[in-house]
């Protein structure tokens, strides 16, 4: 069984298609990169898979089922810029939000949830910042808090929207360590990724996307110069070997 199966997915904003007839299979226990230029529909693909935006056509199956049936097994790391970091809360509290889905309505996080959240902060190397107001964290630290929140979801499959965007070297290393640890535990990670150079070392498989699916598979077969040119047009400066 694949972790994610997308068939004939089309999404449109104001009648302009952002994704057109996309098919995608993501096998279990892989680190999977979604790559493409700005406006290629990478974030849209993740959001459509998570039922966050309506689909014009197509089906998405997550762990063999519709998303709403497996929500508790799916973790999500939105783009860092999608929230207001001036919100009055601290790092630990944000990570605790990862437990809200399991808790259900009204129930408040208790000691078990606090311990889990602290553990997740430790995993991303942020334990010392647990009670730091989130606006006082650097961009990389904020990104690690978001990652810790997803870990607190204790999911089987993680969708991450640009987890490496604008982070420092320490954070980049911390994140990739966490991703590898997740894979070792049999989890699947689907990440939108920007950097063509690091992609083949960080990830197992790749999808090249530009509104349509250009190519998908392992890096040997899919990440070719020809496919990259098709994805980025003539604008590509850094090419894979």
């Amino acid at each position: 069984m694949n972790a994610v199966e997308i068939r004939d997915l089309t999404v449109a904003y104001d009648e302009n298609p952002v994704l057109w007839d996309v098919d995608l299979d993501i096998p279990m226990s892989t680190l999977f990169a979604i790559i493409g230029p700005n406006g290629a529909g990478k974030s849209t693909l993740i959001k459509a898979a998570l039922d966050l935006i309506p689909r014009a056509a197509g089906t998405v199956r997550i762990l063999g089922k519709p998303y709403r049936e497996v929500r508790k097994k799916v973790g999500y790391v939105p783009q860092r810029g999608s929230v207001d970091w001036d919100f009055p809360t601290d790092a630990l509290d944000v990570v605790l939000m990862g437990t809200y889905g399991r808790l259900g309505w009204i129930r408040k996080p208790g000691r078990a949830e606090h311990e889990l959240a602290m553990h997740c902060l430790e995993t991303v190397g942020m334990a010392d910042f647990a009670h730091r107001q989130i606006s006082q964290l650097s961009g990389g630290q904020q990104q690690r808090v978001f990652l810790a929140r997803a870990l607190a979801q204790e999911a089987e499959l993680y969708f991450m929207d640009e987890p490496f965007a604008g982070v420092d070297a320490t954070t980049e290393r911390a994140i990739i360590d966490v991703l590898r640890e997740l894979r070792a535990k049999g989890k699947t990670v689907v990440a939108v990724h920007h950097d063509l150079e690091s992609a083949p070392t960080y990830f197992d498989r790749v999808a090249l996307l530009n509104v349509r699916m250009i190519a998908t598979g392992d890096f040997e077969t899919a990440f070719t110069q020809e496919n990259l040119v098709k994805t980025y047009g003539g604008r590509i400066a850094v090419l894979a070997k």
Partner: protein, 298 residues
């Protein structure tokens, strides 16, 4: 001591003080969520949108049944909110313009109705226009009780759904992804906001209501970086402004209560912006100056 005695045993003073404190508490809490969700102006729009409902309720029931007027206010506020949502969903008009449009259209309509009522029900309607600016001095025990019940309901919901309200305010998309129905929860918050507006109708009126929502929240944010504490501080600031305003206006000269409360509140906001412990402007500029001094020493 004498003042304390009067506060407890003087019928008018007790009602005014209690009413203003209840309003301050509930508007401080719900206003905080509105401000954090960048919807500070929504409260203003909904408060103004409540006016035609009050007038219709008066025309229909003929009497000044307090409950009917409040229900009318809530209904027309709700219609105002649905209209704003529809404008945002179906057109390319941005939220500021949508709020402004609904606010003025509903309020204008309300003022027309108010004039009609004043002409055709001459004399009998005395005091209906108090909904514009409120008339806390005229509060009776029955109204204060209604305000208290509505506030307790609203605050109980906030306590129960605190974590849901928090997560949809901070990261609505994430909330949706963990099966919290963001739209439903956001609508509940708006409904509670409307309740707090209804609570304030008799006291500060539709025109000044937004100050009661935005003021305590803006001031409280300066003192803390925790949502829970922000809600508690906002509630306290609302309560204190309510009490102080009520005392000044009842005991001092005959100034209407609503405006006095708003002035007291504004002073607290000003002090908080300058000296708030979490992000007061004065401390931040001192810190900046100190850093510059230290760097100059090197």
């Amino acid at each position: 001591m004498n003042l304390f005695h009067e506060l407890l045993f003087d019928y008018t003073l007790r009602n005014v003080a209690l009413g203003c404190m209840i309003l301050g508490t509930v508007s401080g809490v719900l206003g905080s969520f509105a401000v954090l969700r960048r919807q500070g102006l929504l409260g203003d729009a909904l408060a103004h949108a409540a006016l035609p409902g009050v007038c219709f309720a008066f025309i229909l029931t003929g009497l000044k049944t307090p409950i009917a007027l409040l229900i009318g206010a809530a209904l027309s506020g709700w219609i105002g909110m649905l209209s704003i949502n529809q404008i945002l969903k179906r057109s390319r008009i941005d939220s500021g313009a949508a709020l402004g449009t609904i606010l003025t259209v509903f309020f204008g309509f309300g003022v027309v109705l108010l004039t009609v009522i004043q002409k055709s029900y001459a004399g009998k309607q005395a005091g209906l226009d108090k909904f514009l600016f409120g008339q806390a001095a005229g509060l009776v025990a029955e109204q204060v009780l209604t305000m208290a019940i509505l506030s307790i309901i609203a605050l109980t919901v906030v306590v129960l759904l605190f974590k849901e309200f928090k997560v949809i305010s901070f990261d609505p998309e994430f909330a949706q992804s963990i099966s919290i129905p963001t739209h439903v929860v956001a609508n509940m918050l708006s409904a509670l906001l409307l309740i707090s507006i209804v609570v304030g109708l008799n006291t500060v009126g539709v025109v000044l209501m937004s100050a009661m929502l935005v003021g305590p929240a803006a001031a409280a944010r300066q003192w803390t970086n925790s949502l829970k504490k922000m809600l508690l501080i906002a509630a306290s600031i609302g309560t204190i402004s309510g009490l102080t305003g009520a005392l000044i206006s009842v005991l001092g000269t005959k100034i209407p209560t609503g405006p006095v409360i708003v002035i007291v509140l504004s002073l607290i906001v000003l002090l908080s912006v300058l000296f708030g412990s979490a992000r007061g402007v004065v401390w931040e500029s001192l810190r900046r100056r100190k850093r510059r001094f230290v760097e100059g020493q090197r």
